[in-house]
């Protein structure tokens, strides 16, 4: 099965070949066939390649490796390998509760209409801050973490719906669903990345 990157590479190679023919023999555009070729090579194919390239780059921006390629994100990447089930992000990655190759995006996108688009626009802002401004230390979320992002996967799951702690008080689950009781900052799952403590913890060594 040919992937989108391979298809795009083939299209780029085809475009470059056709454009090269036109650059060497521009006089062929005096014929009807040459005009069609020029329109295809100098307009249609480059537009298609640009659109596919933009889509491919946006898709790549979901990758864990992409997020962690910025130096400032290094400790957050490291926190995914803490050998302690209390570390929420680490437990999610290590147990494949999120796709390991899209770990950051899965938890940090907004599960609303245009949430993915907003996440990508925030990503562009991050690039701007990284190169042209000074990132805050430590980096912070734009808004308090919304339970909606957790419930996107956990709502309806047996371990969540029937969990002893979640059902100890009948008010708990409705409050969690209404985002009135935070999953993360109500004393329940508050150890998330905890990057300030990384020098005091053990790390899981991934079996090769």
């Amino acid at each position: 099965m040919i992937g989108p990157t391979a298809i795009l590479s083939i299209l780029i190679a085809l475009s470059v070949t056709l454009i090269t023919i036109l650059v060497i023999w521009p006089s062929i555009t005096t014929t009807r066939g040459g005009k069609i070729l020029a329109f295809l090579a100098l307009f249609i194919l480059p537009m298609l390649c640009a659109a596919m390239g933009a889509s491919e780059h946006l898709e790549r921006s979901k990758q864990t490796q992409f997020c962690l390629s910025c130096h400032i994100m290094e400790p957050y990447g490291k926190s995914l390998y803490v050998d302690d089930p209390k570390y929420l992000a680490a437990a999610h990655l290590q147990n494949h509760r999120v796709r390991p190759d899209q770990a950051c995006y899965t938890c940090h996108t907004d599960y609303v209409l245009y949430g993915g688009m907003k996440a990508k626009l925030r990503g562009l802002r991050h690039v701007y801050v990284q190169y042209l401004a000074t990132p805050s230390k430590p980096i912070r979320l734009y808004h308090p973490y919304n339970n909606r992002e957790c419930l996107h996967c956990h709502a309806g799951a047996r371990s969540f719906e029937e969990g002893a702690v979640h059902n100890a008080d009948p008010q708990t689950l409705p409050a969690v669903r209404a985002n009135k009781l935070s999953c993360l900052s109500s004393g329940c799952h508050e150890v998330v990345h905890n990057v300030a403590q990384l020098d005091k913890v053990k790390f899981w060594k991934v079996a090769q």
């Binding site: 795009l8 590479s9 780029i12 470059v16 650059v23 555009t29 307009f43 480059p46 390649c49 780059h57």
Partner: protein, 65 residues
């Protein structure tokens, strides 16, 4: 007429070269999964494509009947 013809051909050549540069930038940026690659694709690649496509379109509308 021959002057117009050579001028159009020159524009097509320049447009083609700009587009080849844009496509080369795209091909290079796709080999790299980093925010900088996206910026290079967007701004440098976009500059070459924009220039190439606009010049091609201009050569079409500037062509006499």
């Amino acid at each position: 007429m021959s002057f117009n013809g050579s001028q159009i051909e020159r524009r097509l050549r320049v447009s083609g070269v700009l587009l080849i540069l844009g496509l080369s930038v795209e091909a290079t940026s796709l080999r790299w999964s980093h925010p900088t690659a996206f910026l290079v694709f967007l701004f440098l690649g976009g500059l070459f494509w924009g220039g190439g496509i606009l010049l091609y379109l201009y050569s079409l509308v500037s062509e006499g009947p």
